[in-house]
Symmetry: C2
Subunit: 476 residues, 2 copies
């Protein structure tokens, strides 16, 4: 390299020796061309060797990483976030980005279902645009998409195959399915199936719920209608998000007639949009409440801890809630405090909750029973053959036997929500151990009902469950 530089400088010198005024003119022309190109900045992709070097660099460092041994201290949340197109669920991306930025991995995933040829074409054409959106919005995340026969199949592919070497997901981040009560049974089955798949493939799971929901595709489409210039690039979502497409049609056909209704929709969209930017803003003074109810390796503690070291969340203090016996409150507090200080995690307060396992009050329970009523089979009121037939036809429905067997667990979720309302109503964020259901034993709708009742009427909730891999350590 240095020899080349020396040679080049020598040549420049020799130019002047041979004919000084010709050399001067040459330099003047060169300088003019250089300034011209710099000033005009023509948008040309030269396919330069610098670009090739980026590839070699990325490859080499990914290969170097494979030689590094795993260590609990170097655990990082490497998240697979089911955002769909990243602009459609910005809040989900924001919160995931908050705990993966700079030291973790974030992959925004989209699954295309439908005829393969069409899907692949749509997918490949959108790939670059969506990655560019992430870069433009300063999200350090990758975009990945697959075409599959069903949503669950697609996610299964992503859970297993995405990532390169060590940079592969260890945690699934998914928004809470708000419309589980009105959605078709197959959608609910897929949703719960994905959670089971993630556990099977030894990933942790984080389900995030905000009261307004994450999906703002309808707002994007309305915006697209108002500003036709940005309508075109967004038309691609229509195929995938057909539900929102219908709403969109409803908007242009109905709203002109019924202005009151359209105003309602506008207001609703406004609130949706506000909710979608809530994690972009700096969080006010407050608390992040951690309800650490099971030991899952520490992910439930690690995620909020990482949040508190971010600029946006630094005004939030950690409060820990955990179960305990009424006669040993002080002892358990001390044990927990020493454990956390060993983990070098700063906390503002520890609360030992003794009355988790008591029965919930009647009203809450009645509410829960009413909620699951449409999904119950009530097989005990029917004769055997009809019951058997019903069970076979609608395996996703809640049987009486199942409800009886998991009564304690249902009580617990309802009771937990009461406690959450009592203690954490004003928190900025709640991080909560996610209840798990054995595959096959608990029907999909009962599980969704648990999640629903657990996280109802609360500030943003993160339901977290690690895969029993330790992610925290005493050793420094």
């Amino acid at each position: 390299m240095w020899v080349s530089l020396f040679g080049a400088l020598l040549c420049c010198g020799v130019m002047f020796v041979i004919n000084w005024w010709a050399a001067l003119i040459t330099y003047a022309i060169e300088l003019f061309l250089y300034i011209y190109v710099t000033y005009k900045k023509p948008e040309v992709n030269w396919g330069s060797s610098t670009q090739a070097l980026y590839f070699v660099n990325a490859l080499d460092s990914a290969l170097a990483l494979t030689t590094v041994e795993d260590h609990v201290k170097n655990f990082r949340p490497q998240c697979l976030a089911l955002t769909g197109a990243p602009m459609v669920r910005p809040a989900l991306l924001d919160i995931t980005h908050a705990f993966t930025k700079n030291n973790g991995l974030c992959i925004c995933c989209e699954v295309y279902t439908g005829p393969r040829k069409l899907c692949v074409k749509e997918m490949n054409s959108g790939m670059e645009k969506k990655q560019a959106w992430l870069t433009k919005n300063k999200r350090k995340a990758f975009y990945a998409a697959v075409a599959a026969d069903s949503f669950r199949d697609g996610v299964k592919s992503l859970l297993q195959a995405s990532g390169l070497g060590r940079m592969k997901p260890n945690t699934l981040v998914i928004g809470f399915k708000k419309d589980w009560r009105s959605a078709p049974a197959t959608q609910v089955e897929n949703y719960v199936g994905i959670i089971h798949d993630a556990f099977d493939f030894e990933l942790g799971v984080i389900i995030i719920r905000i009261s307004q929901g994450f999906d703002i595709s309808q707002v994007l489409q309305v915006q697209g209608m108002c500003f036709p210039s940005i309508w075109l690039p967004r038309a691609t979502y229509c195929l995938t998000y057909q539900t929102s497409f219908h709403i969109f049609f409803f908007l242009i056909t109905e709203s002109t007639i019924n202005t009151i209704q359209s105003m309602h929709v506008g207001e609703f969209n406004q609130r949706l949009l506000e909710a979608s930017t809530q994690f972009k803003k700096k969080q006010g003074k407050g608390t992040i409440d951690i309800w650490w109810l099971f030991d899952d390796g520490g992910l439930t503690i690690l995620i909020p801890y990482i949040l508190t070291i971010r600029k946006k969340w630094k005004n939030c203090k950690l409060r820990i809630f955990t179960g305990g016996k009424v006669n040993r409150i002080e002892e358990e507090k001390l044990v927990m405090a020493s454990l956390l200080s060993k983990f070098r995690i700063k906390f503002a307060d520890i609360n030992i909750i003794c009355d988790i396992n008591i029965k919930p009050n009647k009203e809450s329970w009645k509410f829960f029973e009413e909620m699951i009523e449409p999904y119950r089979l009530h097989e005990s009121c029917k004769d055997m053959p009809t019951a058997e037939k019903l069970k076979r036809e609608t395996p996703w429905k809640i049987t009486d036997a199942e409800l009886e067997a998991f009564k304690e667990k249902s009580y617990r979720q309802v009771r937990l929500n009461e406690l959450l309302q009592e203690h954490s109503r004003a928190a900025n964020l709640i991080v909560l151990s996610l209840p798990v259901a054995r595959k096959g034993a608990v029907s999909d709708y009962l599980y969704m009902a648990w999640l629903e009742i657990l996280s109802k009427n609360l500030p943003p909730v993160l339901m977290v469950r690690g895969n029993h891999k330790n992610v925290l350590t005493f050793y420094s």
Copy 2:
């Protein structure tokens, strides 16, 4: 950083000022400890921050790569090689590594099929060992594995979801299925299905055939039997490679009785082992023959060109064979020569073959007909209902109508093999355009028969087909 260093040095100085002999003793002890640790080299994984930095580095450079725009000049073969466990098909890995090393991506893939719980456990436990094997053998490749219901499903996941950002596969590398005639029909269906899937997902395909086959798992298992010390780590393959497992059982039960047979097996294994190392050695003086029969974007030319710039293959010269009309041989030669020199690809010779499209000689054709005989339906000799029924029951069989419709194409493959025997029998490597079959139109067995007859009795053959993306350019 410099301030810290200055502070540290200052402290050392102050130590001496305060109490010079105590400082000296301290240094002596420190030095002793340092030498002790360096000498003993305890195998401890400290989970150091250096290791964490590797991760951040890899992530940052992968993210930086996503901002780079695609350009034909920066096309690199990024291969998904279906090697199974990388030690089982070393020759397939070697040849792939030869054209991906340092400037392309190579992912060694394995698919586990069977009960999910078991598969995932086996998969995750083998993951690190297999990546370590790659590192130890200086293969710049990643290992990836998935558990799926069927082999094809697993490969589908890998084709779509593997890789991160820009570092994702664009070419599928797969060994030729040697045992297609004896294997169950579902296996053949899966194999051909994978090739179709790859084209659907817009990847290129490279099928590699060496006369001995790639899979040396039986040799590994026999070795494992002789040297019990290395038997244990290899026991994990048994589950996956059940066919070889049977052979292994056959070896320990039968070979003790029938020594002649076991000697045959030993000889066979020896040859298999030799074949498996053929791409590890430096290639002798000779040629790489490129039969460029379709324009697929240039992958068929690019792969052998990359090989010739490697040390091991630098003694091999490129010879180009392509079709043409008998009255324009010299013209077409000139056109091709100027095209290749524009691509800056050095070649030793160009041959224009005029008699590709004539009928093959009778013997070769008879051989082909005999080969496909067991897979033919012969529906025209039967009455309509039986024929229809047979067609429904065995959709993978070759119908008379199909054979008639694709007679020209079958002729062509047989004729091509004749030409290959004539011109390229002595080449070090043959690179050949892969014939493609429209999905549904050509039955799986007819397609396999084409590949079989095309690449029969030849030196190692690479059948290549790009995805019609240009990979070569005039512009420098």
